[in-house]
Symmetry: C2
Subunit: 208 residues, 2 copies
């Protein structure tokens, strides 16, 4: 599912260049001439393949959604939460390594709002929600858990750091999207989900 070399056509090169620049500078900050220069072609060719800037943006969006769907459709909501979390983990690392610009692009998409953002976000929340429902059915959740917020929390645990990846990596001694980086991330998330941050003694000492 690598993006390079699988389709070396000029059209794909243009789309990839557009994705790269749009992730970095946003749609308004990316001109067709910029895309052409980045792809090493003439500006006219860009509009030969994608007639307007809007259509180019739509094709980039569609490609990103396809990547997202491809990586996360393998995440089956079954088994323990640890297993689901592990699948999520692998999906995230596949997703992030397939194209380094994807997290930034998605961050912009989510920020921009619109149907695509809602589809992405609701899809992720729905996935974690379904996973939580399974655990809840076996009595694995605390009674009285706010399922809506719990789903959001679980989603943001994975999505949040991805959105501000460069800022977070300044606090880590390794890339976030790497085997070691993801593992450390996963361990922290697992610890938080399993037992929170405060140790039980704290509860007794400080009920406030």
């Amino acid at each position: 599912m690598r993006i390079a070399e699988t389709d070396p056509s000029t059209r794909s090169r243009i789309r990839e260049a557009a994705l790269r620049l749009m992730a970095e500078r946003g749609l308004a900050g990316t001109s067709i001439r910029d895309v052409a220069r980045e792809a090493g072609v003439s500006p006219g060719l860009v509009q030969h393949h994608f007639h307007t800037k809007e259509r180019l943006k739509q094709e980039v969006d569609a490609w990103v959604v396809e990547q997202l769907r491809g990586e996360f459709e393998s995440v089956t909501v079954s088994g323990s939460m640890a297993q689901v979390s592990d699948q999520f983990c692998r999906a995230v690392v596949r997703f992030g390594t397939s194209c380094p610009e994807l997290p930034a692009f998605i961050a912009r998409t989510l920020l921009e709002g619109g149907a695509m953002a809602e589809g992405m976000f609701d899809g992720l929340v729905g996935l974690t929600r379904a996973s939580l429902e399974l655990v809840a059915a076996e009595g694995g959740l605390w009674p009285g858990t706010d399922m809506v917020w719990a789903s959001i929390q679980l989603t943001m645990m994975w999505l949040g750091p991805l959105l501000v990846q460069p800022l977070i990596e300044r606090h880590l001694d390794q890339p976030l999207i790497s085997d070691a980086g993801i593992e450390r991330w996963r361990l922290a998330n697992a610890a938080l989900v399993r037992r929170g941050l405060l140790s039980p003694e704290r509860d007794a000492v400080e009920p406030g």
Copy 2:
């Protein structure tokens, strides 16, 4: 610390209009003429007060940082984590209600990167880190806790939903930035920090 009426000068109106549009469309998507129209003045006046678009952006940035500093300098890192969380809560609600466009603007700032983004993010992480250190000194944290990731998690618990506020509100039956919305948010965060999502029985049944 309201933004309107405290300084009704034309210059401030222009700055507020710029903040609004830049939060919504980004810097590249906001022209000086747009700002002027939004503020109800002539484009020439915008560059009379702020000589260039870059300077205008800088002043908007500075104002936002000032608001951030003003709201969060009252958060003293002392007392229980619940108290700190409560202070955070109040700061967030003050911050979000003082100017509804601020979260989106900050989201763009963090996404864009740069010194301002790093200053903001590191400041927040540092604040939560200090709070965690205090709790840790009293033995309130689980042994072996990854302090770096715990700080990030705690920060993202409050920052994350703010960044994707419109997407999250679609799953809630109330505005996120409201007394009831914030309280529900705070309860979910408190529960997660205190005990995680999984109940202890789950631990025994499923150690994976």
